[in-house]
Amino acid sequence: MNSHDLFIAFWTILRREIRRFTRIWAQTLLPPAITMTLYFIIFGNLIGSRIGEMGGFDYMEYIVPGLIMMSVITNSYSNVVSSFYSTKFQRSIEELLVSPVPNWIILSGFVLGGVARGLGVGLIVTLLSLFFTDLQVQHLFVTVAIVFLTAVLFALGGFINAVFANSFDDISIIPTFVLTPLTYLGGVFYSIQLLPEFWQGVSQLNPILYMVNTFRYGILGVSDINVGFAFMMILLFIGGLFSYALYLLKHGKGIRS
């Protein structure tokens, strides 16, 4: 296949993925919009007005970047894990496996499908947040780069989860028991400076803290962590997970007998 054919194959997968989550928008795009609006109202307006400032900003302003990032992480992950597992479950993955599409194109198509949903939901949440606060982006490149890379990273995570999943229960275990706690403890609602020193150290082991804080740095210009270090770690994780996902595809883990 030449590069033109490869591009068509890639676009076919990506287009199918986007069509899938937009066709079921009431399950994929609407719920995060409602959930995040409730967060803005309850945590930002009702409770936030009593908390006052956090990190030198109004509490609503402080939590908005974290909530946007939370929706990007959750949606990019869950899109790929549910879509790829469904193709395994229905065996429609065989359509791709018998075709001459290289594994890296298959992986890129699914991952960018997850990124598209993550960023789409992120954009919806950002627009909703404008009803509650003014967002002034301080570092545009950092903001765009970190949200994109985070979506890629979690879409890759979702793909690997789907490869190993043997039932629909298996695709909800990681989001429920790993992703959600790490996100809530990743500085979405508070600055880790408020924690005792020991828990600050523990928090720094949480990769989501780096993404949330780098995104917050992009928008508000403040961060609890070193932004350069965060980018380096994310890129390393993306490289590692991409290689591992390709290895799994090549050996047919969970998809070939």
Binding site: M1, N2, H4, D5, L6, I8, A9, W11, T12, I13, R15, R16, S86, T87, Q90, R91, S92, E94, E95, L96, L97, V98, S99, P100, V101, P102, H251, G252, R256, S257
Partner: protein, 310 residues
């Protein structure tokens, strides 16, 4: 002579230790209509799964139009179309989208893919359902959708794993006609089926696989030549109370108006009819008790089983 498929010493042991294929080898010539037959669990689907890269082989070599799947899997797959036994499309997508998407995986642009999809949907009687979800199709239509999908990139080698399973006889015959046309146009076809009259009617060459081994690999004509005895069912005019004695023929009375007669290959039918005439037995109609290939198939598989048990 160009070979569409070469399978050499193919061996497969599944993770649970089950040895599905035991060093099998066979070839399929370009333009052939080839039957790969065997009882359930014989290794047909494993073989075709390895060829279409849905199953990892343990050892051996597979080449599609001379391209080794271990050296250039993508190049090998470009020439291959697969219709698997189980429905494996996204049931929630509509019929046309399934076809156009499949073409996209082969680098075919959307406009051309759409035209090809329209052609095959019309050809295979799916046109009326083109905007409907695949899950709403009948079993026969789902089978035809799988065939249309496998043809979207115009493959030179088409693998059909029980393509007419569960399809009514009228539709099956129209599918046979379509497959004959496809083969006449140059597509090499490999067919597995449990309908042996289908294989006999369509295929020129045949391999029979049983418990992971190829037990017969020859032309259909040569195989049918091996049939030494055929059994015929005769519907007769007058009722009988016992089977007549016809010298040299095994005769059984199945019902008062139905005779079953074994005819050796060298005996022919003229002698039988002379004897029937002598006994004042008027024959109204006559048919084979079972398909010729079916008789051979059963005897070959039974023979292997007896040899293995011995």
């Amino acid at each position: 002579m160009t070979l569409a498929l070469t399978v050499e010493n193919l061996h497969k042991v599944y993770g649970n230790g089950f040895e599905a294929l035991k060093e099998i080898s066979f070839e399929v010539k370009q333009g052939d209509f080839f039957a790969l037959l065997g009882p359930n669990g014989a290794g047909k689907s494993t073989t075709l799964g390895i060829v279409s890269s849905l199953v990892n082989k343990t050892s051996g070599k597979v080449s599609i139009f001379g391209v080794d799947i271990d050296k250039d899997l993508i190049g090998a797959k470009l020439n291959l179309g697969v219709v698997p036994q189980e429905f494996n499309f996204n049931m929630f997508e509509n019929v046309k989208d399934i076809l156009v998407t499949q073409a996209g995986y082969y680098g075919i642009e959307r406009k051309r893919a759409s035209e090809r999809a329209d052609y095959y949907m019309k050809k295979l009687g799916l046109w009326e359902k083109r905007h409907g979800a695949a899950r709403m199709l009948s079993g026969g239509m789902k089978r035809r959708l799988m065939i249309a999908r496998a043809l979207m990139h115009d493959p030179k080698l088409l693998i059909l794993d029980e393509p007419t399973a569960g399809v009514d006889i009228e539709l099956r015959r129209s599918m046979w006609e379509f497959l004959r046309e496809l083969n006449a146009a140059g597509t090499t076809i490999i067919l597995t089926t449990h309908y042996l009259e289908e294989a006999e009617s369509l295929c020129r060459n045949i391999a029979i696989i049983d418990r992971g081994k190829i037990i017969k690999n020859t032309s259909m004509n040569a195989l049918l030549q091996q049939l030494t005895t055929e059994t015929f069912i005769l519907d007769i005019e007058d009722a009988l109370t016992q089977a007549p004695h016809l010298e040299g023929y095994g005769v059984r009375l199945i019902a008062e108006n139905v005779l079953e007669v074994d005819v050796e290959k060298e005996q022919g039918l003229n002698g039988l009819f002379e004897l029937l005439q002598d006994n004042n037995i008027l024959v109204r109609s006559m048919r084979n008790k079972s398909n010729r290939l079916e008789e051979l198939f059963v005897s070959l598989v039974d023979k292997t089983l007896n040899q293995d048990n011995a």
